[in-house]
């Protein structure tokens, strides 16, 4: 099985050439590695690579194909581009257009809605303010567009990842 993975601005191709128990011979772009990878705890991996012992924690992102990988002091935001799109199909959501929907990664309370349906918004414009854990966070539009739908009212309690505002991008 070969998959494409994105990290920062780089898109890499990963191919498993051989697997013997926990030892994998893999090709990442043009380089070959022999990696001894053990899952030691939930989301925690121990890797031995040419004698070096490396620990990786996998923190899942908003969707199953996104990770924040913690490798000691280093953090990578990693996205797996799965041609089978298994997760996306399974989830039933329109993740391709995810950016259209402004949502909060955590449950919270709607403090203020700064736009109404039909309003034009600019990229970076604050659309809604959500309060959670004694802190208010501003959510901004990621492109120029028009507010298509506002799903919540001020004072509402919201679930994590629930759509709050939908914005239709300008052509």
């Amino acid at each position: 099985m070969s998959l494409e993975i994105k990290v920062k601005d780089r898109t890499t191709k990963i191919e498993v050439l051989e697997q013997k128990g926990s030892v994998y011979r893999v090709k990442i772009d043009d380089k070959e590695y022999e990696l001894d990878v053990e899952r030691v705890e939930d989301g925690v991996y121990s890797v031995i690579h040419e004698g070096a012992s490396v620990n990786m924690e996998m923190i899942e992102g908003d969707t199953a194909n996104k990770y924040n990988v913690n490798a000691g002091k280093e953090h990578y935001d990693v996205e797996i581009i799965d041609p089978a799109s298994r997760y996306r199909t399974a989830s039933g959501g329109d993740l391709e257009g995810g950016d259209r929907f402004i949502s909060s990664p955590m449950p919270g309370k709607v403090v203020k809605i700064l736009v109404s349906e039909g309003d034009k918004v600019e990229k970076g414009q604050t659309v809604i303010i959500i309060s959670a854990m004694k802190m208010e966070s501003e959510y901004k539009s990621v492109f120029d567009g028009v507010v298509k739908k506002v799903f919540v009212s001020e004072g509402d309690t919201t679930d994590s990842n629930a759509p709050l505002v939908e914005i239709e991008p300008a052509e």
């Binding site: 990442i28 925690v44 802190m135």
Partner: protein, 505 residues
């Protein structure tokens, strides 16, 4: 004698108070909100009672309900922890009226210290230094020159009606004074319709240094030295240490005396903290007094060897302090890092959620005070602080090395935490040289947020592990879909939680 204590709090501080109760053979009673049924303080307590829904004002701030539980459970005393009702004079009074001991100072002391202007006045009367300035507006330019010369440059001119930086002017010398004053007045007038301006000493490179005090009901008041709390983000403390790198024995003696004087001025009883601003020339000014236990009290415990919660309980029980000022000393160096569930790379956004895995740092010189555990879902209703990591070593250098080691060992997955940010702080030159003030985070924010890339191999390995975890997960999920619902449930918390999300989206 106190035999049963209700802890009117949650999180790490509730558990911490109960630990000392247990060591003293005192029963502890927890109160909890509906969402906190599985919280650690409920599990730790000898008794536990629900006091209302998740929002604080309906549970942990519900004084009536908490008092009702206290009476029902027949407790001898109530410990308020920090936050919530801990500095609520009204609550303290109601507790006393119900014939229960409030573990803290008198309602009068809370009230006096709770009002900034009253407290300032009280300090001036009792010979405690405050930030020099006029709290009344200055109208006349000659008066202004005289006043400023008394205070000394630099000064800050501030609009009385002001806020948000409008009508504020920093004045460094006599030449700038009159023109700045006129500009401040004009700006104040146009912004607020009121041109009143007052003067305050401008503290450059301010250090936030506080003193721990303890006072019993027998007239003994002592201090347990200082805590340096200048590593702050938006007035939120992030790292604390003791001794302060800025401190000298003379300054310590002088500040300690004033801290004790501040406490005595309100007949303080119990544990409290006197906060000061200190400039680079070691001038210090009273800021405020916190009439409760502080988050950062463990570093004081570590260098003095004293259990402050036990001291609070002893004092509340009418006992005299078991140690005198001259018997106390600072042994070695202690640092505390506050671990928040937050994403520093995303504007420090809180990151509540399900904790899938924790490894606590262990070994020599490490103390952790936490309350989250594997499988616990951090609620979004309360403070995002999930634990405190305290290290001790004979020297400051060794303590920093140990803190780095402990942060390296501390693994929490499921939620994002401030651990990487704290690690960066430990590595920042200004910090490890001990040359920092409250501008530290602001000044170093670029380095602190910078992503230290590792070599290509390390990045490639990260990618491969992500690949493995993902394909494994996908395999599992397709199997789950094929089997019945009960099976999905049995495949563990995380999958269950994710399924919920998926269904919600």
């Amino acid at each position: 004698m106190i035999k049963k204590i209700l802890v009117a709090n949650r999180g790490e501080i509730a558990v911490r108070v109960m630990r000392s109760c247990k060591e003293l053979g005192i029963s502890s009673v927890a109160v909890y909100s509906e969402i906190d049924r599985k919280a650690m303080h409920v599990r730790y307590a000898d008794e536990a009672y629900c006091v209302g829904p998740a929002p604080s004002n309906e549970s942990y701030l519900n004084a009536e309900k908490i008092l009702e539980v206290a009476k029902k459970a027949n407790v001898d005393a109530i410990h308020p922890g920090y936050g919530f009702l801990s500095e609520n004079a009204d609550f303290a009074r109601k507790v006393a009226e119900a014939g229960i001991i409030f573990i803290g100072p008198s309602p009068e002391a809370i009230l006096t210290m709770g009002d900034k202007l009253t407290a300032r006045q009280k300090m001036i009367e009792n010979g405690v230094s405050v930030v020099p300035g006029t709290k009344d507006p200055v109208r006349d330019e000659d008066d202004l020159v005289k006043t400023v010369e008394e205070i000394g440059y630099p000064v800050m001119l501030k609009a009385s009606a002001g806020g948000g930086g409008k009508g504020m002017r920093l004045v460094r010398n006599r030449d700038e004074l009159i023109s700045s004053f006129r500009m401040a007045k004009s700006e104040a007038s146009s912004s607020f319709g009121d041109d009143a301006v007052y003067v305050e000493k401008y503290i450059e490179s301010p250090h936030h240094i506080e003193f721990q005090v303890l006072a019993d009901t027998h007239g003994n008041t002592i201090h347990l030295f200082e805590r340096e709390c200048s590593v702050q983000r938006r007035h939120q403390k992030v790292v604390e240490e003791t001794p302060s790198p800025l401190m000298t024995p003379e300054l310590r003696e002088e500040m300690g005396k004033q801290a004790v004087a501040a406490a005595k001025s309100v007949d303080y009883v119990g544990a409290g903290t006197v906060e000061f601003l200190v400039d680079n020339d070691r001038n210090f000014y009273f800021l405020e007094m916190n009439t409760r236990l502080q988050v950062e009290h463990p570093i004081t415990e570590r260098v003095t060897g004293k259990d402050l919660v036990k001291a609070q309980i002893l004092i509340a029980d009418g006992k005299p302090l078991p140690y005198k000022q001259e018997e106390l000393s600072q042994n070695g160096h202690a640092i505390e890092c506050r671990i928040y569930a937050e994403d520093h790379q995303n504007n420090f956004m809180p990151s509540p959620g399900l904790v899938t895995h924790i490894t606590e740092p262990l070994g020599l010189g490490i103390r952790t005070d936490g309350y989250v555990y594997e499988g616990y879902e951090i609620p979004y209703h309360y403070d995002p602080m999930i634990s405190k990591l305290i290290v001790w070593a004979p020297t400051r250098d060794e303590a920093i090395q140990r803190m780095k080691r402990a942060l390296y060992e501390y693994k929490i997955t499921g939620v994002k935490t401030s651990i990487p940010f704290l690690t960066k702080i430990m590595e920042t030159k200004d910090f490890y040289e001990g040359k920092y003030d409250t501008h530290f985070i602001e000044k170093n924010i670029d380095t602190l947020l910078e992503d230290t890339g590792c070599d290509d191999a390390c990045e490639d390995i990260a990618l491969f592990v992500a690949y493995l975890d993902y394909t494994d997960k996908m395999k599992k999920r397709s199997n789950e879909t094929a089997s019945d619902a009960d099976c999905v449930k049995s495949s563990g918390w995380k999958d269950f939680a994710r399924r919920k999300n998926v269904l919600r989206f």
